[in-house]
Point group: C2
Chain length 192, copies 2
DNA sequence: CCTATATTTCAGTAAGTTCTGAAACATAGG
DNA sequence: CCTATGTTTCAGAACTTACTGAAATATAGG
């Protein structure tokens, strides 16, 4: 009886350890990826932790698991909430706040894509348009036909075409639900 | 006659100034965008300069135009060549080296996408697969059915599905020519 | 109102990155 | 072989970003 309990506990602990190793592996890789996409390592790691554990984590959980200070945890959690890819979660009767990740990866991607489109792609398109206006015949008169001006115009057009197509693709992803996205992806993969 | 020449020169100089303003605008914006996508500002600016001028630039051109040191210019130009989005260009009878940007934006994007897929997305997929293996029934026995393990598996699967679809889309873009890409994009945009 | 607990803020510091400038290197042409 | 011209490298400086730890703030519950 006693022996059985011990064995069961060992088994359980073995599984938990393995689970922890799996989580650590995932968290590390996610953090590394975040960095190269312009999200800082710690924020990416916190998000990975919330996502992979599939359970609300409190500030102390995050601090202990990732070995970071309270200040850092607090600020990074807030930033992730601002992005909208984790949410505050209140446990009844508990004082402290918990945080949980969205569970749908497609939804997270949509949120991130929307924000990056707005902050980084839209301004580029705007700049291209502005540059084109600056080279308009109205502004430049006959000189608008000079080879240098024409060459610049061609370059601006090449970039504009690319950016506006990319922008449309992003916009489509953003405005679609999971189901819609699946359809899109299916169509796309068949066409390729 | 003399007067006419002067007027012509003034006009020309006006156009050149305007062209320079356009280029500066484009370069600035491109540099800003690069930063948030994990490419440093200077490298992005050098690339923008080569692209928008549509003419081979030498090291001194780059240094003067962007106000950077010779060392920085040299190293950044090399890095851009390594990426493959600008190329060395030898002018007959000239000692110094020039650099020109690829002219096709879609081709540049393909090159960048290929590299980022290889360096950042493939490792994540690999890690997910590894994590899944670590939670296999073979490794964990009966405990593989515990709720915690099942929840983790579901999260890994969600991420795997997303990453492998994204990966396929990237792969398709990478392996296609300009014409192929256009077709893909058309199909996609119609489906949305 | 007070205490215990939880959270946020922020000045200072650590870590990381980008850049400069000068020296070393490379080479074409005399 | 020497000089003139151009390129690369790299140690250290300048700058930027991320993090800590402690103090300030907030608030539930007695």
């Amino acid at each position: 009886m006693v022996v059985e309990t011990v064995v069961a506990e060992q088994k359980k602990s073995g599984v938990e350890e393995q689970l922890k190793r799996v989580q650590d592996e995932f968290i590390r890789r996610w953090g590394e990826m975040g960095q190269t996409w312009g999200i800082n390592r710690t924020m990416a790691e916190i998000h990975a932790l919330c996502y992979i554990t599939a359970a609300p984590q409190c500030t102390d959980d995050v601090m202990e698991r990732l070995n970071i200070s309270r200040g850092n945890a607090s600020m990074s959690l807030r930033a992730l909430c601002d992005w909208g890819i984790i949410r505050r979660y209140h446990k009844r009767g508990e004082r402290r706040e918990y945080f949980e990740s969205l569970s749908d990866v497609w939804e997270m991607f949509s949120i991130i894509a929307a924000e990056r489109k707005r902050r980084e792609m839209d301004p580029v398109l705007e700049t291209i348009k502005k540059c084109q206006a600056m080279l308009d015949e109205n502004n430049l008169g006959a000189a608008a036909k000079s080879e240098a001006v024409l060459a610049t115009r061609r370059r601006l057009e090449g970039m504009e075409e690319f950016m506006s197509v990319t922008n449309k693709i992003f916009a489509a992803f953003i405005s679609n639900t999971r189901a819609g996205l699946n359809k899109v992806v299916k169509v796309l993969l068949k066409a390729l």
